[in-house]
Point group: C2
Chain length 208, copies 2
């Protein structure tokens, strides 16, 4: 809308459509820093350098904003985890390398993963937002499936258990390892759990 001849001039002259991603980005920073509870509309617009009224000009409500933020953030998670590390070895080693890569990602930006967990739990609270949490985890599962298929092809094995089920286990284990690392910040414990998870997952495949 209004995107016809609009010039991209200054921050103070943005269309609502342009403001939305800026606010989403600012909101994600606030949530990572202070949690959902601290992500008031005032805090978000302050982070984005806008006035309070701009918020409700771009979004109908704070909840609608959080819904869109959740959806957008899930779409982005893709790149961080998907590209499988190009290691050689058996399936267990490849999967474990994938976990190691994810753990690096987690260590590099813990607040981000914590924010994702909070968004999930927030969505779980209201029945009308539950589908959002399901969509979020479906997306995780899709990414996991893709990675699992690639890994199996790479090392030349076949998944005995249906891939969607394997992917579900992978997502569940990753979640648990994430939450426990956020609590203990114990890299060794996370590695042990990752190895155990890789072990369990790799046993769901057979040599081709």
């Amino acid at each position: 809308m209004t995107s016809a001849g609009a010039e991209r001039s200054a921050v103070s002259r943005m269309s609502a459509a342009e403001r939305r991603p800026v606010l989403i980005e600012a909101g994600l920073r606030v949530i990572a820093r202070e949690g959902i509870a601290g992500a008031s509309t005032r805090a978000i617009v302050a982070e984005a350098g806008m006035s309070l009224a701009s918020f409700h000009y771009a979004f109908e409500s704070r909840e609608a904003f959080l819904d869109e933020l959740t959806a957008s953030v899930v779409a982005r998670e893709s790149q961080a985890v998907l590209p499988l590390p190009d290691v050689d070895g058996d399936l267990r080693e490849v999967v474990e390398a994938g976990f190691t890569r994810y753990l690096d990602h987690l260590r590099a930006d813990p607040a981000r993963e914590q924010a994702m967990l909070e968004l999930t739990q927030h969505a779980l609270r209201a029945p009308e937002r539950h589908p959002l949490a399901v969509a979020q985890y479906r997306r995780y599962a899709e990414l996991a499936e893709e990675a699992l298929i690639t890994a199996a092809e790479h090392v030349g094995v076949t998944w005995r258990v249906p891939v969607p089920e394997v992917a579900g286990v992978l997502v569940a284990f990753s979640d648990g390892i994430t939450l426990n690392w956020l609590v203990h910040r114990d890299d060794h414990a996370a590695r042990v759990a990752a190895r155990a998870a890789a072990d369990a997952l790799s046993r769901m495949a057979d040599p081709r």
Copy 2:
């Protein structure tokens, strides 16, 4: 305090010491029903059938209340998970039966486990409450250790990996399975993950 000759008469005549557990109980119900965000002091006292002032007579602040609630709720979690099911079979089967028992517990009262997860994340947010989350998960790990030792003795094996590390993996996997079940409500997926977890854990022990 004031517990000397106090008679246990009516609800309207309770000492602060008596009110505390009542408020904790009411607070837990509110959090299970509406989340931490909905657990305002007003909502809690309404649930407990008290006046607002009673709350701050029994607790210094809402945060102090949440701290005590978290601690008390962790202590209680013990009974629900600890008593190992008295199954026969190899270690994998015994551990899987433990997961099955926990999943029954989860299905019976999902809101409770969701509340526990929210309390953890709440504690993770403020640095001064982080130790509370650590204590919560240390307690989980203790319970897991106890169960793992009992299970190994029962089937006559020895843990090759240090028991605290095995317990850490158990807690992490349980967490992940819990969160994913809360999202998908998929019993089958939870069972598959539980079986995989039991498989991985049981491989950390050797025949005696």
